[in-house]
């Protein structure tokens, strides 16, 4: 971990951290066939904080899972840096997730048997990689967990647990951090802490963050908001504020309803 992070490398070459091209995702076959993503093309610039929003069923989680290599894609391409992840086998894909992607889930982010410190360094430990002490300290201080490192997850509050997850996502200096409703289970104070930290990781460390959320307030922390409806990107907003996001979402919802009515 003495080499520059992928984020830094990507910043030099100017290429996006993550890129999707005509991404299609279909679940099931025959009558059960559901098209979740209908040809999504999108770029996530390095060092950018993007929020993906959309009504339930819009395909925002599916998009994130496909971008993160957690789910297979039906057609199209997904590039993580220069790597076409559809071409990777499970072993290589797992290594890619481990070394170049950070994850923050809505809940159940931590292993109950491991301490906060062990949870944070888990991806490095799995890889058998050395922990960059200075970076680790930096991240731990940023999430304000210095005095909680020896605690088990069950001894931490929900907000603290999510901060541990944030630290784990960042400790490998990943090319991109994917956050799936990271504040979905938190109260407003804890939410603000976690979102503030994600924002700072982008501003201060040049981290690329992609966050799925349905909360306009959370989305307002991002540099850019991408709106998804019916498996397609329908809009994009830079420098979002909660009010603007909320308005856009309302129109999307009514759009969905009118679409439903049109059947």
């Amino acid at each position: 971990m003495t080499t520059p992070s992928t984020a830094e490398l990507s910043a030099e070459t100017g290429s996006p951290a993550v890129r999707a091209l005509n991404l299609v995702k279909v679940y099931g076959t025959g009558e059960m066939r559901v098209t979740a993503l209908t040809g999504v093309s999108i770029e996530f610039p390095t060092g950018d904080f993007t929020a993906i929003m959309g009504p339930s069923g819009s395909g925002k989680s599916t998009l994130m899972h496909c971008l993160a290599g957690l789910d297979s894609i039906t057609s199209g391409q997904v590039f993580l840096g220069d790597v076409d992840i559809a071409s990777l086998n499970d072993k290589k894909l797992t290594s890619l997730r481990r070394d170049r992607v950070g994850f923050i889930f809505q809940q159940f982010n931590l292993l109950p048997t491991l301490s906060a410190r062990e949870n944070i360094t888990l991806p490095l430990d799995i890889a058998g990689a050395k922990v960059d002490k200075a970076w680790f300290d930096h991240v731990v201080d940023a999430v304000k967990l210095r005095d909680r490192l020896k605690h088990l997850p069950s001894e931490l509050s929900g907000g603290q647990q999510q901060r541990v997850a944030c630290a784990r996502a960042l400790v490998t200096r990943p090319a991109v951090v994917f956050a799936d409703e990271p504040t979905g289970n938190l109260d407003s104070t804890a939410s603000a802490e976690v979102l503030g930290f994600l924002q700072r990781s982008v501003r201060e460390f040049g981290q690329t963050v992609v966050m799925v959320t349905h909360d306009p307030l959370a989305a307002s922390y991002a540099d850019r908001v991408v709106f998804l409806a019916d498996g397609q990107i329908v809009d994009e907003m830079t420098d979002p504020t909660p009010d603007r996001v909320l308005d856009r979402m309302k129109s999307l919802d009514s759009g969905m309803k009118s679409l439903d009515g049109g059947h």
Partner: protein
């Protein structure tokens, strides 16, 4: 409620199949042994009924001993073994109502091929034709309907060299009519020719034993019964009942003889054989009970885990109004169904076991006539009873816990808190452990007879329950240490495995406890066996002075003709030869095994250390071990009365005592006493001591040469003799270990079960790990290491408990036998631990595969 029970049962069928497998194996064992016993009993009842179908009454000499044991060495059962004078036949024939009466002759007779003399003159060892794992029997041929022998080829024996053999041996050894053979009988070696073959009753021979038949005069002469019969069989004239005829004949018999009805004889024969085989089957059944006991642990654990996973469901049932009783009953019914299904399959498996065991008997020389498998109601009832009972008892505690789930748990994510605190657990564990240890020690040292067996068995079960109860208290620290090398070697993956193994002490302990039982028993027998073997090495060497030991070949080491000793005695290299014979007598009203030896050269062949008096075995003297003297409150010089089966009471004077000696046994009598009081004059062991001028190789060469005509013998030096005894212990240990392997196999299923359930419970964790980059291979390693740790933990518990059992066995044995010392088989026990680890690896195969296939998205999405 019943429908809910059935639904949940089917929803979890795979896990229940795994736990039912434990019941299937256990019940199968028990059922199999019952089926085997019943089949054998019927087989022999039929066989003996057929043999004696025309016998109305049999006359023989009566035994002076109550409950006289059948004399296996001559193949005769019941009676004293003393011959009946030929004149009695005339007496019997004069009794009104006797249709036909035949004198039978039966004794030891080994058959072998007569070797063609070689041109060089060096003798060639003839080929042994008799089955040396069964008593070799020679009889007088007669063609009356009273004889079970039916000539089926050739001609009946008439001349002194005519021999007819059983069809089974004839076919198996590929013999031919006119073939020159020799026989070895009590009177020595005799040459003859095969002139015919016969079947025996409905089969080819008597359960694998080789039968040869001679003409009556030849039989009487060769078998050492001139002018005498072994017994007289009588067929009644028509219209006379067996009982009437028996009474009439008994009234005419001289003293010392008895008359029995054909029915009594058939029953006696069948009982005596069935008793021997029944012992074998009881021995095997014991392992079935162990397997069931182990199975109960697994079932209890499985039910606990399943209930743990169903907390919400149970709470919901409670919330909508199911009573605690209904919940408890639903779990018990679930167990009942599993038990019934398991028992049914177990019964089917038992058939297989019975067939297999029959094959095992055949392999050790007990050939059984083909017959259908006997399946009695008793077998079914016992199988269902124990199988269902074991399951229901095992499920009782989990059922109670299930019933305690509060309705509010339906609304919350709640784990079942273990009932009872630390102190309760300690107290309960101690309540099992302490009485268990006491029972074992009492059973081994104080209680006698069957009670001892029950005490030791119950004690061992209590110790197992106690350790299993206490185990959750120590599992976390012990697993921390056990897991340390794995954590060091495999880093985070190893550490996660260790923490997973440690996280639910009750589950890990219950899983490990099942393995503990098997390993404890295996290691206990290993400790015991090793100690005995080491002691044999030390003590047989010390007991013996003889250079060579001659014994019968074959598994049972059948006795042999006394001409062997006579032939060896003639050799110039030989300084002393001693013949050893054994029999049962009554002393002070108690049955004792006594041993006869030649007085001459006694202290040359045995390293007999004198304690008191003189080691003089001449005349009416006897020698006893100092322990016997002390235990019987006897004094040197006093007279002791010995009651013989054939001749009644005889007095002997205790001339001296010796310190415990492995070959001298407890009571030593002069050979002449046996000659007077025991008709069977066969030696079991012959000890040979070389002259000072001779060397072991020369002595061995000359003894081997003179014994060439005896292919049923083995000549061993001291070292080989000790090794042979050690080998026999190894064989027994091997058999026990093989039988315990079933219990260990069941325990391994238990590990599979626990891990599968754990993997299911930890789906989200595994999904998370896979998401953040744990490779499939690493996932498998993680599960595998957890299995290994649990298995090693179980193995360690087993070794500790087994070492105690072993120690208790050895110390009790040492106290009783006045020999032996504790030897700890470190290497073997380490091997056991490695085997445990290997079982862990095997048990982890399916769960690890399953874990590595966890669908990451579904795992994360699951809430």
């Amino acid at each position: 409620m019943l429908r809910t029970t059935l639904r949940s049962l089917f929803a979890r069928k795979f896990r229940l199949v795994l736990s039912a497998l434990a019941i299937v194996l256990g019940v199968g064992f028990v059922a199999g042994t019952f089926i085997l016993t019943d089949t054998l009993n019927q087989t022999f009842n039929n066989l003996f009924a057929d043999i004696d179908k025309n016998t109305s009454v049999q006359v023989r000499s009566a035994s002076n001993l109550p409950n006289a044991a059948a004399d296996q060495s001559t193949g005769s059962s019941g009676g004293s073994g003393r011959p009946v004078p030929a004149s009695v036949l005339d007496t019997v024939r004069s009794v009104p109502g006797v249709g036909q009466a035949v004198g039978t002759v039966q004794s030891f007779s080994v058959l072998y091929e007569r070797a063609a003399p070689t041109t060089s003159g060096t003798p060639v060892q003839p080929r042994l034709l008799s089955n040396d794992n069964a008593p070799p029997i020679g009889v007088a041929y007669n063609d009356s309907t009273l004889s079970p022998l039916h000539l089926d080829s050739g001609k009946p024996p008439t001349g002194p060299a005519d021999i007819v053999v059983d069809r089974g041996t004839f076919d198996q050894k590929k013999l031919r009519l006119g073939q020159p053979v020799s026989v070895q009988t009590q009177t020595g070696l005799h040459d003859g020719t095969i002139v015919g073959t016969f079947t025996f009753g409905a089969s080819n021979n008597l359960a694998g034993a080789t039968l040869v038949a001679y003409s009556l005069p030849t039989a009487q002469q060769l078998l050492g019964l001139p002018g005498q019969f072994t017994n007289i069989t009588i067929a009644a004239a028509s219209g006379v009942s067996q009982e009437d005829l028996q009474k009439r004949i008994a009234a005419k018999l001289p003293p010392g003889l008895e008359a029995l009805t054909g029915k009594q004889i058939i029953k006696e024969n069948a009982d005596s054989l069935a008793k021997g085989l029944g012992g074998f089957s009881t021995f095997i059944r014991f392992f079935g009970y162990i397997a069931l006991f182990v199975g109960a642990f697994i079932i209890s654990n499985t039910f606990s885990m399943l209930i743990g996973q169903r907390v919400r469901e149970l709470a919901l049932l409670r919330a909508i109004g199911a009573s605690t009783r209904q919940i408890r009953r639903s779990v018990i019914i679930e167990a009942l169904i599993v038990g019934l299904v398991g028992s049914t399959l177990g019964l089917a498996f038992g058939f297989g076991v019975a067939v297999l065991l029959k094959a095992v008997l055949g392999a050790v020389g007990i050939d059984l006539p083909a017959s259908g498998v006997v399946f009695t109601a008793r077998t079914a009832i016992v199988s269902y009873l124990i199988g269902t009972l074991a399951t229901v008892v095992a499920a009782y505690l989990p059922a109670r816990r299930a019933a305690k789930v509060p309705p509010v748990a339906a609304m919350r994510d709640m784990e079942l808190t273990p009932s009872g605190g630390l102190r309760n657990r300690t107290a309960l564990g101690a309540a099992f452990l302490v009485p268990g240890v006491v029972l074992i020690l009492l059973g081994l040292n104080t209680i006698t007879g069957n009670g001892a067996l029950v005490a030791v068995g119950a004690g061992a079960a209590a110790v197992f329950l106690g350790v299993a109860t206490l185990s959750p208290l120590i599992s976390r620290p012990v697993l921390h240490v056990v897991g340390a090398p794995f954590a060091a070697l495999f880093g985070t993956v190893g550490n996660m495995s260790r923490e997973n193994a440690r996280r639910s002490p009750r589950r890990t302990s219950a899983t490990a406890a099942a393995l503990m039982i098997g390993l404890a028993l295996v290691s206990a027998f290993s400790v015991f066996g090793t100690s005995i073997k080491s002691s044999i090495r030390d003590l047989f060497g010390e007991s013996l002075k003889a250079d060579l030991i001659v014994q019968g070949s074959g598994f049972n080491q059948q006795p042999f003709s006394p001409t062997v000793a006579a032939d060896v005695r003639k050799l110039p290299d030989v300084a002393a030869v001693s013949q050893l014979r054994f029999t049962s007598v009554d002393i002070d009203g108690k049955s004792q095994n006594v041993q006869a030896m030649n007085p001459e050269g006694l202290t040359d062949v045995l390293n007999l250390r004198r304690q008191d008096g003189r080691l003089d075995l001449t005349g009416n003297n006897m020698l006893v071990s100092s322990k016997v003297l002390k235990d019987s409150n006897w004094k040197v010089g006093q007279t002791v009365t010995i009651r013989w089966a054939e001749t009644g009471n005889t007095s002997f004077r205790i001339a001296g005592t010796y310190q415990q000696n492995q070959l001298a046994g407890s009571y030593l009598l002069p050979l002449s006493a046996f000659d007077k009081n025991v008709s069977t004059k066969l030696d079991s062991i012959v000890l040979v001591k070389a002259t000072n001028g001779s060397t072991l190789p020369t002595l061995r060469a000359s003894v081997t040469q003179v014994l060439t005509p005896y292919p049923n013998l083995e000549v061993r030096d001291q070292k080989e003799y000790v090794a042979e005894n050690a080998k026999q212990i190894n064989q027994i240990l091997g058999l026990i270990t093989a039988l315990l392997a079933f219990a260990i196999l069941i325990a391994t299923f238990g590990i599979v079960n626990t891990l599968l359930l754990s993997v299911v419970e930890r789906t989200r964790e595994i999904g998370l790990l896979r998401a953040v980059g744990l490779q499939r291979r690493q996932t498998r390693v993680m599960i595998r290491l957890e299995a290994i740790m649990i298995a090693i933990y179980g193995g360690l518990l087993g070794l500790v408990v087994g070492s105690f059992f072993g120690w208790a066995l050895v110390s009790a044995f040492t106290k009783n036998a006045e020999f032996g010392s504790f030897h700890y088989p470190f290497t073997t026990l380490i091997v056991f631990l490695l085997v445990s680890a290997l079982l862990g690896v095997l048990a982890a195969i399916i769960p690890a595969w399953r874990a590595s296939r966890t669908n990451v998205l579904q795992a994360i999405a699951a809430t």
